[in-house]
Symmetry: C2
Subunit: 484 residues, 2 copies
């Protein structure tokens, strides 16, 4: 199994869509629509004995009627029809089949039996199955959007395998608004045949994948996922979110993916030993995807905090300390440097609270001084993006003269230019010092789309999320050091 090659699965030359439908709203039509709308590089052959053409493509009665060899088939027809369709795909020599259909092992013993049957059949043909009960796959390279939801993810360095289709595809969609790009995605479904372990091995070898995300509910006792993960973790971060951590959650998981969720304590220990980065929420999964994709791993746990609001400095310091990060005191020479830039009432310590200084130049100078401070490993900074929009309420008593002056003033534009300058400096400082710099943007409206896609700044709306991410990066650094 070591050399299992999933290239044809993620980059097929062509796809047979078995159960493609001309009826809008049926899953066969929705997935076909998503593939065509996603701009897939290859050819799609709808297969349906009752149609001549679907979405202007010629439709074939069976896969056997398709005039050339087929790399990948997708099946969306009811469970009881799947075994004979697997036979047809086998006879055609199709190497990969994605079984979207549900009502297999996740619904009980009858479904489990049917699942065994299709897997045995597939093996007899040397065919590999994704699913059953999967929401599909995505690949940026081949522009393959073989998914149930109509998602067109951003392209980027993250690949994900997920034992939940909804949670996984939501990450793809969420990545778009968070500026996190994906390379490959697979919803592993019931894992009747191909398992998380197979996808992990493949992503490990895949050059376009730099960061691996996993949503796991459980793995079989004989799975090699964890030993494999330990090797992969030395080269690429694997960020894992475990569902079924509690008894009740574990029961829910059994009826969802058929997984045996296993003991939480064992998983936690194993994740730690294998260097897998365990997050405790869906939010954490996305936050880590962003940070591990676009920031260097810090060398240690010492953090400088730059803020224009004392309270934010206090709670960020609390969060750091509670998460094993250190906020070291400022040395005298840095205090002297900062004295030249800031008014006398600045905090004279770390967190560096600029107090009411709101112009951009001193902010950027402080940031540069902190980045060059040798005794810190990372920076959390507030203030590069605050952008409270001036609104005129109904009862404004402002004289007309001022209203006119205001309408000529374009804070949005000014701010966008200023932000661009901040982001460029931050990117330059990260590059030069090798230290991660995380920004706080307290409003999502502060995030400028362009700078996001051009520079990938790592920004969060609340400091607690920045701190959680840094804690996990520091733990990963410890794993890398201990296994070097």
């Amino acid at each position: 199994m070591n050399d299992l090659d999933l290239d044809k699965l993620f980059n097929p030359k062509n796809i047979a869509m078995i159960g493609a439908s001309a009826t809008l709203g049926k899953w066969g039509s929705i997935i076909l629509f998503n593939i065509l709308n996603g701009g897939f590089d290859g050819t799609v052959y709808p297969v349906n004995p009752n149609e001549r053409s679907i979405m202007e493509l010629p439709c074939y009665p069976t896969v056997g009627d398709i005039p050339e060899p087929v790399d990948l088939a997708m099946i969306t027809t009811p469970a009881q029809t799947v075994p004979s369709l697997i036979d047809e795909c086998g006879a055609k020599g199709i190497p990969f089949v994605i079984v979207v259909t549900s009502n297999f092992s996740e619904t009980g013993s009858k479904g489990a039996k049917l699942e065994c049957e299709i897997v045995e059949k597939a093996r007899s043909y040397g065919m590999r199955i994704v699913g059953p009960n999967t929401m599909g796959i995505f690949c940026a390279k081949s522009e393959l959007h073989a998914l149930m939801p109509p998602i067109i993810p951003l392209h980027g360095p993250v690949s994900m395998f997920s034992q939940s289709g909804n949670l996984g595809t939501q990450m793809l969609a969420w990545g778009e608004s968070e500026g996190v790009g994906f390379e490959k995605f697979v919803c592993s479904g019931n894992e009747g045949d191909l398992t998380c372990e197979d996808y992990l091995r493949y992503f490990a070898k895949d050059e376009a994948t730099r960061v691996i995300l996993a949503y796991l509910e459980g793995v079989d006792n004989d799975s090699e996922l964890l030993p494999v993960a330990r090797e992969v973790s030395k080269k690429k971060p694997i960020i894992v979110f475990k569902g079924g951590r509690t008894d009740a959650g574990s029961k829910a998981a059994a009826s969802h993916s058929g997984a045996m969720a296993g003991s939480t304590h064992i998983y936690k220990a194993v994740f730690r030993q294998t260097g897998m980065i365990e997050v405790s929420s869906s939010q954490g999964l996305m936050d880590c995807a962003k940070a591990f994709s676009y920031l260097p791993i810090p060398q240690g746990n010492r953090v400088a905090i730059l803020t224009r609001g004392g309270g934010w400095g206090v709670i960020t310091t609390d969060a750091c300390e509670e998460n094993g990060l250190v906020v070291p005191p400022l040395p005298d020479d840095l205090i002297k440097k900062l004295n030249k830039i800031l008014p006398e009432y600045w905090s004279h310590g770390n967190p560096v609270d600029m107090v009411a200084v709101i112009s951009r130049e001193p902010y950027l100078k402080c940031l540069e001084i902190l980045a060059d401070w040798e005794d810190i490993d990372a920076i959390i900074t507030f203030g590069g993006r605050e952008n409270i929009t001036l609104k005129s309420p109904k009862k404004s008593k402002l004289p007309d003269e001022f209203k006119a002056a205001l309408s000529a003033f374009n804070p949005q534009k000014e701010n966008a230019q200023g932000q661009d300058k901040s982001i460029k400096l931050i990117m330059e400082l990260i590059e030069r010092t090798g230290k991660p710099i995380i920004e706080l943007a307290l409003f999502s409206s502060d995030l400028d789309r362009n700078s996001f896609e051009n520079y990938h700044p790592v920004c969060f709306p609340i400091p607690e999320r920045a701190v959680q991410v840094l804690r996990l990066m520091v733990e990963y650094r410890r794993f890398l050091n201990s296994s070097a």
Copy 2:
């Protein structure tokens, strides 16, 4: 001190702006601008010996020159000028003065001495001081936006006192995008004179205030805040976020508000005893503000979960169990009822996973059945708002016929109408059953502004936040029961 009346502070007939400036960008001009732009009900008198008029208002050399009695003065001039200005305000008989100026006790012993001086002076005149080192106050009733940042908050039932101006005003601004409305706000600054305890007593009596938020760094040993809080908590929820929970955070707090942050363990215990609802992040503060404002307090800890994605059901169940909430099994009669609505492969348990059913009618029926289930106290529901926008990527291979069909189709509008229906049903079910129903909206773009302001649905983007809020509501219910 029991009968301290702060009505004139929050609802002054007029304000003297001492240090008002004609120079845009100076704090004196910024606050004046914010007051005028906010549509304050009363009169504003700029006070500045060097100007004749500011923003078209007549300017007075001193407060003594103002031709009528003054309810409230604000001071923005440098620290050393404040004592004599307090004398002038005292001579004029002004009952309340907001000292915005910083460089008092928060910067060391010299500043502390100056702070004592102004407080002693104020007391000799029977005058009360907000601050010093405050970012100001807000009141919805009087449309008073006497704040440093240009924020026009939504109006609503929440009043807040904050020992951080930045954190507090950010909550006001954040409330706008989160649909949380405020009644009164005060940044208590260094609390040289008026303290959190005074503001708490006042908010407790204030009829327009239903929910109280607090950001606290520390209180003096002789403060009566906590005993007062215990009484207030029986009538109104007090949600508190404590800064300075760690040694390092506590040091940062000392240089910020001059507060002695005190032992975390003691605070935690005291918050519990007084029924105060302690949150552990800035996000939690806003989430609780929303939930306690717009949802009934559940009677117990039993939760029904409705989802269209198994993975979300699993992680929500995990989060519930980890937070002391129970996800009880579905009784047979409910399973029978749901069997009539859902396809055979639904989860047949709680969480109720509708699997791939995406139409709205069965969703609404399930929601109603769950709300009427006698053995649960709250509902968390996914699926009323999913709204993944159809995008056409550059390389779409969709036939023109389909593109035309798509452009005629308006999922945004369809969805808005459907959402409106969902929200109305949810509001009706909350009203009828007295149970809180929290929705999950995985994308902020799903939130329809109108329904938000008309109905105040309580929605979060991730389930973990919904669960945290429910946990705190259940704890508050226990406090209410134990102190009844």
